[in-house]
């Protein structure tokens, strides 16, 4: 696993937390959370092969479509609910975010930043939707149906009365400090710690 945002997420999960990992995939990251952070984890995924892989790692997983509203978690609260690089694949990202901060004391969300300068220049100069190593699929067959930028995400959080506790950005080595100061332009992905606003 070499997605940089995951290291940030790992550092943000308090030791011994009850963690819900939405779109847990093959469970590799959730397994790391259990081993390195002593987390008690539950994964959610819809793909049968992913479920088998996650179960083979000794994890508990629930087969559920995140788009269906995560109703099974209405009566149980987690310390941290995680959604890494899946926000842009959801039918209703805003509803999912609301659910996440309801189910968890905190939520951690990461997503690829569509406001990154490479995306902007690709679209600006070629006139085509960006296709890159990180986003390899063409617009018509991509699972990424709801791309957003750092600015868009923060505006949505404000609308949903969700507080941003912390933000981290992932940028290439050359743009590391730029990504910190101008995340919407230089961060290739962004990671947020959020919670329901007390307001």
């Amino acid at each position: 696993m070499n997605r940089l945002d995951l290291n940030t997420v790992l550092g943000w999960v308090p030791r011994g937390s009850k963690v819900l990992d939405l779109g847990c995939g093959d469970g590799a990251f959730l397994k790391r959370l259990c081993e390195e952070r002593g987390a008690v984890g539950v994964g959610v995924d819809i793909d049968p092969d992913n479920l088998v892989s996650a179960v083979s790692k000794g994890l508990d997983v629930i087969q559920e479509d995140i788009n269906e509203g995560l109703n099974c978690f209405t009566r149980y609260r987690f310390d941290v609910v995680i959604l890494t690089h899946a926000l842009q694949e959801l039918t209703h990202p805003h509803l999912a975010l609301e659910r996440m901060v309801h189910i968890g004391e905190e939520a951690i969300v990461s997503f690829p930043n569509f406001g990154h300068w490479r995306c902007r220049t690709h679209l600006g100069l070629t006139g085509h939707m960006p296709v890159s190593k990180a986003m390899p699929r063409s617009w018509y067959d991509t699972p990424n149906i709801h791309f957003c930028t750092v600015k868009d995400f923060e505006a949505l959080c404000s609308d949903l009365r969700i507080d941003i506790i912390e933000r981290a950005t992932v940028a290439g080595a050359a743009q590391k400090w730029l990504g910190k100061w101008w995340p919407n332009l230089f961060a290739s992905s962004a990671v947020y710690r959020i919670r329901r606003s007390a307001r």
């Binding site: 088998v52 997983v61 629930i62």
Partner: protein, 381 residues
């Protein structure tokens, strides 16, 4: 399906029998002065006694869950798919026990065994057992076998309900619990189907008020019809279309043909019904369907399923089967959600299949892979 040969099979098996001579009181208050359980085991119980797995059978199941009998090399046990060396419930590692429930008709004390008070078959006078009774009698069996805790209790359909009852009634006895194609209780529709089955049996003139054995007959037409109705609810509409379509076994659709028509599906159901009616006791069918009707995991908790499962300390695996309309996926989801709400460790999946309720007995790649992988956490490492 590896049923055809000895591949990965536990091989030749034979049933065992144990007699309990102390009085056994059933949930409905009646008392069996003594009773017998017939059971099979596969694999070896280890010295620590921590590798024992209990398999609970469904409505018409038996203790013969895996392997072959010497006098019947063709037909394997009912869950040979899952039990054996290298199979999901791996007998190289695990000691597997399966018993015939009280009230059954395959050797355990039931309506077709002799009532010690009269010296005649119990017949319809056999007391109504409930799922809790089976759990308690299986606990006696465990103690007899020198087992103090099940590494897992596993079952499908009624057997899945029994596994859940185990986890609630004797929490410290159940380390892992697997409920396949189960439900926390029956719906009105479920009970209605059971009533149709019972009515078929009770309407057969050979029923003789349940006393048919002493009159040397069996209500085979009633049992066959009951089974046809039951069997129908185990299959899915798509599965039946794929398997039988509208094909004729006898007769022809051509206009000039004058004949009797027998569709493949009719022939199949008749065959299932007839075969079953010669093998399965009518009183047992009545008792077992009634035990299903009466089952309610939350009955002691005023219907609060979360409160009911709260006592359990097991890790749970709950699986449903997408085309199951007898206990559809949402019934498993009720169980899952109660377990989640109670903070229990649970894995849940809905297996995509056309096999209907029978899905838990039939080959399916995802199902077998999930069960295999999940079972790795059962028993000593």
């Amino acid at each position: 399906m590896p049923n055809s040969g000895a591949h990965n099979s536990v091989g030749l098996v034979s049933p065992c029998r144990v007699r309990f001579e102390t009085a056994f009181q059933l949930a409905n208050g009646s008392v069996l002065a003594e009773h017998e359980l017939v059971y099979e085991t596969y694999g070896e119980l280890n010295a620590a006694g921590d590798n024992a797995v209990l398999i609970c059978h469904a409505l018409s199941g038996t203790h013969h869950a895996a392997g072959f009998y010497a006098d019947d090399g063709e037909r394997a046990g009912w869950w040979d798919l899952a039990i054996g060396p290298g199979k999901p419930i791996d007998t190289r590692r695990l000691f597997v026990v399966c018993s015939n429930n009280i009230g059954g008709c395959d050797g355990s004390t039931g309506p077709n065994t002799l009532n010690p008070e009269t010296g005649k078959p119990w017949g319809a006078k056999f007391p109504q057992p409930q799922v809790q009774d089976w759990v308690r009698s299986q606990k006696l069996l465990a103690e007899y076998l020198g087992i103090s805790r099940w590494a897992a209790v596993i079952g499908g359909s009624l057997g899945g309900m029994q596994a859940l009852q185990w986890a609630i009634d004797y929490p410290e006895w159940v380390e892992h619990c697997v409920a396949l194609a189960a439900a926390p209780k029956l719906t009105a529709q479920n009970i209605a189907f059971n009533e149709i089955a019972r009515h078929a049996i009770l309407s057969d003139p050979d029923w003789c008020d349940g006393d048919y054995l002493s009159r040397d007959t069996i209500p085979s037409r009633g049992v066959a019809l009951a089974r046809m109705v039951g069997h129908l609810t185990y299959m899915s509409a798509d599965g039946m279309s794929d398997r039988f379509g509208r094909e004729l076994r006898e007769g022809s659709f051509t206009p000039e043909a004058e004949s009797e028509w027998v569709f493949q599906v009719e022939s199949y159901l008749r065959h299932q019904g007839t075969r079953f009616s010669t093998q399965f006791d009518a009183n047992t069918y009545v008792l077992m369907t009634r035990a299903l009707d009466l089952f309610d995991l939350a009955v002691g908790n005023h219907g609060d399923l979360k409160a009911a499962v709260d006592k359990a300390i097991a890790d749970f695996l709950v699986l449903s089967f997408s085309s199951d309309w007898r206990f559809p996926p949402h019934r498993s989801i009720e169980i899952r959600d109660a377990l989640m709400a109670a903070g229990k460790p649970v894995t849940y999946a809905n297996i995509e299949t056309d096999n209907g309720h029978d899905g838990f007995l039939l080959p399916n790649q995802t199902y077998e892979a999930l069960l295999t992988q999940w079972m790795q956490r059962v028993g000593p490492a």
